[in-house]
Amino acid sequence: MSSKKDPQLPAERKGRFSRRGFIRGVGIGGGALGAGLLEKEATAAPPAGGVVGPGAIPITLNINGKPVNVSVEPAVTLSDALRDYLDMTGSKRVCDRGTCGACTVIMNGKSVYSCTVLAIDAQGKNIETIEGLGGPDKMHPVSQAFWNNDAQQCGYCTPGFVMACKGFLDEHPNPSPEDVKHGLGGNLCRCGTYMGVRKAVLEAAAAMKGAKKNG
């Protein structure tokens, strides 16, 4: 989040767009082995002594509107499950601890850092990944706006940025330029594409509004 680098930010503002509060609740420390889950898994793959893992266990994730069955070790994050087990590599693993946003996906309508969510904890949630947005031939307005405004260089941060932007616009369809700086403060880019991203978010906001009006 930009908050740690931007103390002038009014506290209330910070709260409005912060994703970290949400993530804190589902982080590795918080919900790794929730009791409910243990019970469910006990029927799915009875582990010795009532403990799941360390071996793989079957789970079902709801990704881009479809149930997906996969077998992962309980310590596997949602980000790694997507990348290493499901070939959905749009989400990137960069900091692997909730700082950079490269792994951003949308879960139950909120942007989350998928590296801070365990795959087993993501069961029963609606997960949207960049693979669920349009591909190069039929680009989502956010992707299109990123292209139009050259908001990518190496592009490694880009899918996370696009998802964060979508999540942000879903909640704040009419952002001001200032809002963009705070709302997208949770994603880092090493190539320095922020000038393009600022323009892209505003352009995407306008395009999505237009699309809604016409559709």
């Binding site: 590599t89 990137k92 960069v94 601890r97 190069p136 000038m195």
Partner: protein, 710 residues
């Protein structure tokens, strides 16, 4: 050869593809998450490798026991890279690696490797030479003119202490590769800035002929000078794959290791004195500096008549140095421009005027350029009205302006390109280069389309493999100058062959033909024309396939060039209670040559500046000298600038016919140089006191304000 085709660039006005702000070709795959980076690959049966790194900054390995790891579930190979006896020189040094069927299994197994160390004394901090006993090497002293007399008789002497620490590249895609070693063949998918020669560097280490090492890379998630060769992990991944019976192995560094061992920009510290006159003329320079490497001062203004330059090197227990986007230039620019600004303050003169006098000591060819750029930058920032003498502001939050200057080469690298025209009209351009996100794909395609008179969409481009005509490493901003010339030449050569095939049907000589808007036509009589496709049908059963090259030893005047200057100005606000620095505006005046794509060129400059702002304000490694540990080898506390931290950036790209005439010059690095200088000077201008050490964090600013600087 008498009939060498004319390769020169079409005139500025007549260009159709070049010079246009065409959107980057790989933008759609990147912004939809479909681009596959090396770290995204998962070839069949791929194993995941995990390293064990040294927790000590300096130690001798006395034993490595891998027996438990080998028995661990899912493990297919274990490889020890630092056997007993190895002297480990920094925290993060690679000791051993495990490859297993899942990453989790590899992690568990890596945790079962037992390593014994004899811990040795370490030095991890480089900012205090007095604590580096036994670790320094004197670099000798360079004396020019008579510095002693000059300083003794000087009207004014200014003096300052400056420091710029090690910065970590922190590429978002970490260093690593996927490698498969099967029989006598190695297939490698590295994350590299050097697709062409990566294999030749790995070859001697694993004793496999370079011809048998196939390298492929489509996308790379950042390099910035830190990702050239195969590194230790290239070899490790190959050996693990061999041990695992030829299964592909993925080995990428974890983020902490990435920061510890895969990218350290050398630091620079020292004291600088300037002797001069009250009218702003500089007469003498004296610097006493140290770094982990060489730092040839003064920067740009190296023709000062009287100088004494001393530099020591110090060796510390920290990851190896790597080139960083314009190697050493940020450090040199920071030290030099800070000293210049301190001199200006001492004589109460406007720094623009002092810099204008100082650049008289720059290499002759650039003197007028810098003066022009200083004026231009002053004009763009309304310097005359906005700049106030150092420390003249009041109130809690104070504004300041500061400037920095830069120089860079940017000459093209050796490059070869093949252009193929098929009888069906399709065109293939092949070149063994890589696109780091700079837009290389787009630019090559623009040049080919321009040269062949075709729309961009008609040209298919293949890059990113060592099976293609060889290019060179993308470093030193050398790519664009190399690939544009080789592409131009191969396209023009191929077109000449097409003219030969088409000329009879147009009852013309090949030399009378031109390719325009998808047609081959007779120059001067546009109605004697045929479509590109019709012309290509005349090629006959074969196809046209022509090479084009650029070799740095044979300059191509007018096609590419080197040597650019730049001036940048930072406008900041500093909160004197919290020490917080905020960028208001940042302005860059950038010299350039022929610009192939203004949109992408501008992105390069924005990117360079943003990276610079990040190092100037936030990036700082914290080491504990007691334990030798890197305390913030993560992205939470090794801070990068975010979207709200960069102020508003204004770029003035000097697109002028005079510059265009020079040909293409690389642009990735030049604008990355002067940021620490400009921001440091702006902060000092705002608060009235020099903050000697980058980054300009609240703690450094408050230290300066409260007189806590030693």
């Amino acid at each position: 050869m008498a009939d060498t085709p004319d390769y020169s660039w079409p005139s500025m006005e007549s260009r159709k593809a070049m010079g246009k702000s065409i959107k980057r070709l790989d933008g759609p795959v990147k912004s939809t998450g479909r681009a596959k980076y090396t770290s995204d690959l998962r070839p069949r049966d791929m194993l995941y490798a995990v390293y064990v790194h040294s927790p000590h900054a300096h130690a001798r390995v006395t034993g490595v026991d891998t027996s438990d790891a080998e028995k661990s579930a899912g493990v297919k190979a274990v490889h020890v890279t630092a056997p007993a006896g190895t002297e480990v020189q920094y925290q993060g040094w690679e000791i051993a690696a495990v490859a297993a069927t899942t990453e989790q299994a590899a992690r568990v197994a890596a945790g079962r490797i037992r390593v014994e160390y004899e811990v040795l004394p370490h030095l991890v901090k480089d900012d205090d030479l007095s604590k580096a006993t036994g670790r320094t090497k004197q670099g000798g002293e360079k004396v020019v003119g008579d510095p002693d007399e000059t300083f003794k008789n000087a009207e004014v002497v200014s003096e300052g202490q400056y420091g710029i620490p090690i910065a970590n590249h922190c590429c978002l895609e970490p260093h690593g590769a996927v490698i498969q070693w099967q029989g006598d063949k190695v297939y490698a998918w590295p994350s590299t800035q050097d697709v062409t020669t990566w294999a030749t560097q790995l070859s001697p280490n694993i004793k496999v002929d370079a011809t048998n090492i196939k390298v492929k890379m489509d996308y790379i998630g950042g390099g910035f000078g830190s990702k050239f060769g195969p590194d230790a992990w290239g070899e490790t991944a190959a050996r693990l794959s061999q041990k695992a019976g030829g299964r592909p192995v993925k080995l990428f560094l974890e983020r902490d290791a990435e920061l510890m061992i895969a990218g350290n920009r050398p630091p620079a510290y020292g004291k600088i004195r300037i002797a001069g006159k009250k009218d702003g003329t500089i007469t003498g320079w004296q610097s006493d500096t140290w770094s982990t490497g060489n730092m040839p001062l003064p920067y740009i203004i190296d023709q000062i008549p009287n100088m004494r330059i001393k530099h020591d090197t110090v060796s510390i227990n920290s990851g190896p140095s790597r080139a960083w986007r314009a190697p050493n230039n940020q450090q040199l620019s920071y030290l030099t421009c800070s000293a210049l600004e301190d001199f200006a303050a001492k004589i109460a003169m406007d720094p623009i005027e002092v810099f204008k006098k100082a650049v008289e000591y720059a290499p002759k060819a650039r003197v007028e350029l810098y003066k022009y750029q200083l004026d231009k930058a002053a004009e763009l920032t309304d310097w005359k009205n906005q700049w106030k003498p150092r420390g003249s502001g009041s109130g809690t939050v104070r504004r300041g302006l500061g400037l920095g200057i830069s120089a860079w080469g940017g000459a093209g690298h050796n490059s070869n390109c093949r252009t193929t025209i098929n009888p069906d009209g399709s065109v293939l351009v092949e070149i063994g280069t890589q696109d780091l996100g700079t837009g290389t794909r787009t630019i090559i395609t623009q040049v080919a389309a321009e040269s062949l008179g075709l729309p961009m969409g008609k040209v298919k481009l293949v890059i990113g493999s060592n099976d293609l005509p060889p290019d060179a490493a993308s470093g030193g901003s050398s790519t664009v100058g190399g690939v544009t010339v080789s592409t131009r030449r191969s396209s023009v050569n191929a077109l000449a062959k097409l003219f030969e095939a088409a000329a009879p049907a147009l009852s013309a000589q090949p030399a009378d033909l031109e390719a325009v808007d998808g047609h081959i036509r007779v120059k001067g009589s546009p109605n004697k024309s045929m479509t590109w496709e019709t012309a290509c049908k005349k090629i006959g059963p074969g196809k046209i396939s022509e090479m084009g090259s650029f070799n740095r030893r044979q300059p191509a005047p007018g096609m590419n060039d080197q040597g650019v200057g730049g001036v940048q100005i930072a406008d900041v606000s500093v909160d004197t209670e919290t020490g917080l620095v905020k960028i208001n505006h940042y302005t860059a005046v950038q010299d350039c040559g022929l610009i192939v794509n203004p949109r992408l060129a501008e992105s390069q400059i924005y990117g360079a500046i943003i990276m610079g702002i990040s190092t100037a304000l936030y990036e700082e490694r914290f080491f504990d000298q007691q334990t030798g540990k890197y305390l913030n080898a993560d992205m939470e506390f090794y801070k990068l600038a975010g979207i709200g931290d960069i102020g508003d950036i204004k770029v003035h790209l000097d697109i002028r016919p005079e510059n265009d005439k020079r040909g293409v010059i690389g642009l990735g690095e030049p604008p990355a140089v002067a940021i620490c200088a400009a921001i440091g000077n702006a902060v000092t201008n705002a608060i009235g006191i020099r903050v000697p050490h980058i980054p300009m964090t609240p703690s450094h600013v408050l230290d300066a304000l409260e007189g806590r600087i030693a």
